[in-house]
């Protein structure tokens, strides 16, 4: 997963340990095919949600792979999404609910 790769990468100290310390420095977004920080962040939500086309996804991913300024945004959104998913998935479905639904449908005159 991209986020794991990035955590390992930045966590290894390559660019200041991902501490945002270089946020005021220049962003390596001036390559001919690199999108800007503004564009990458504008697409962050869609990127995390898998809503971008293959081409745009690749462009945004390439940006996050090299931009220390934007990487923490991606890391934060990903941590958040994972946490929300885990909490939402936790509640157990009440025992017997399926049986009660089936019984109700069997007894329904509209069936």
């Amino acid at each position: 997963m991209l986020i794991d790769r990035l955590k390992g990468w930045f966590g290894g100290g390559r660019n200041g340990g991902g501490d945002g310390g270089s946020a005021d420095g220049p962003c390596p977004d001036d390559g001919p095919e690199m999108i800007s920080c503004q564009d990458a962040l504008a697409r962050l939500q869609e990127f995390v949600d898998g809503e971008l086309t293959d081409l745009t996804h690749e462009q945004v991913e390439s940006h996050f792979e090299v931009c220390t300024r934007c990487y923490p945004h991606l890391a934060m959104e990903s941590s958040f999404k994972e946490r929300v998913h885990a909490a939402l998935a936790r509640p157990e479905v009440p025992e017997g609910l399926r049986g009660r639904v089936l019984e109700m449908l069997r007894d329904d005159p509209g069936a």
């Binding site: 955590k7 991902g18 009440p94 639904v101 509209g110």
Partner: protein, 194 residues
């Protein structure tokens, strides 16, 4: 049992009933109460069963069930219509490209590791406190993994509105969870940072 009714029942069992757990979790987040959620599930499947002749096999049964469930919930809710208007008229400030939370966490926890320290109950409490329009979008996206188009079908809104509701809902949620994490000492507040 006639062949037609047997086919109908088989189709319902194959296409609709497998989504029962998902509908329950959805109903639970809509209502916030297990008893109410269970009633919503039963009513949802009863309606789906009665309307199953109009269901087109192979289409999105899950979206269809969520739509029925949400409509039932909204009808039961007292202040639904008025509440929707308030949410839709909110200032679009939270749609800014830069997440406002970033300015608070950039020095203390830039990767949002504090989210992992917060217990499930607190996360669920914060989700349940969101306006229904935001909460539903977040649940359908982050629990069910539905795409914007599918969420738009359930909510009967355009994709752009789905994006906006997700963005606003998540930012509210992030802020509430961040404030909780600061209060609990899971993350240093921005003011306390050196």
């Amino acid at each position: 049992m006639t062949t037609d009714s047997a086919q109908r029942e088989r189709g319902f069992h194959e296409e609709v009933l497998p989504h029962l757990d998902a509908v329950y979790r959805f109903a639970l987040r809509l209502s916030g109460e297990a008893d109410v959620a269970e009633d919503l599930v039963q009513e949802t499947f009863l309606r789906a069963w009665r309307a199953f002749d109009q269901y087109e096999p192979g289409t999105r049964a899950r979206s269809w069930l969520f739509t029925i469930c949400r409509n039932l919930y909204l009808r039961q809710r007292e202040r639904g219509r008025r509440h929707t208007e308030i949410v839709e008229k909110e200032a679009p400030r939270s749609d800014a490209v830069i997440n406002p939370l970033w300015s608070e966490t950039r020095d203390t926890d830039p990767e949002g590791r504090f989210f992992a320290s917060i217990v499930d109950d607190e996360v669920l409490r914060a989700i349940d406190a969101l306006p229904e329009e935001y909460r539903t979008a977040v649940v359908l996206s982050d629990l069910e993994g539905m795409n914007y188009q599918e969420i738009g079908e359930v909510l009967d809104v355009p994709v752009g509105t789905v994006k906006s509701r997700l963005s606003r809902g998540r930012r509210r949620l992030q802020k509430v969870l961040y404030d909780y994490a600061v209060e609990m000492g899971y993350v240093a507040s921005a003011e306390a940072a050196p």
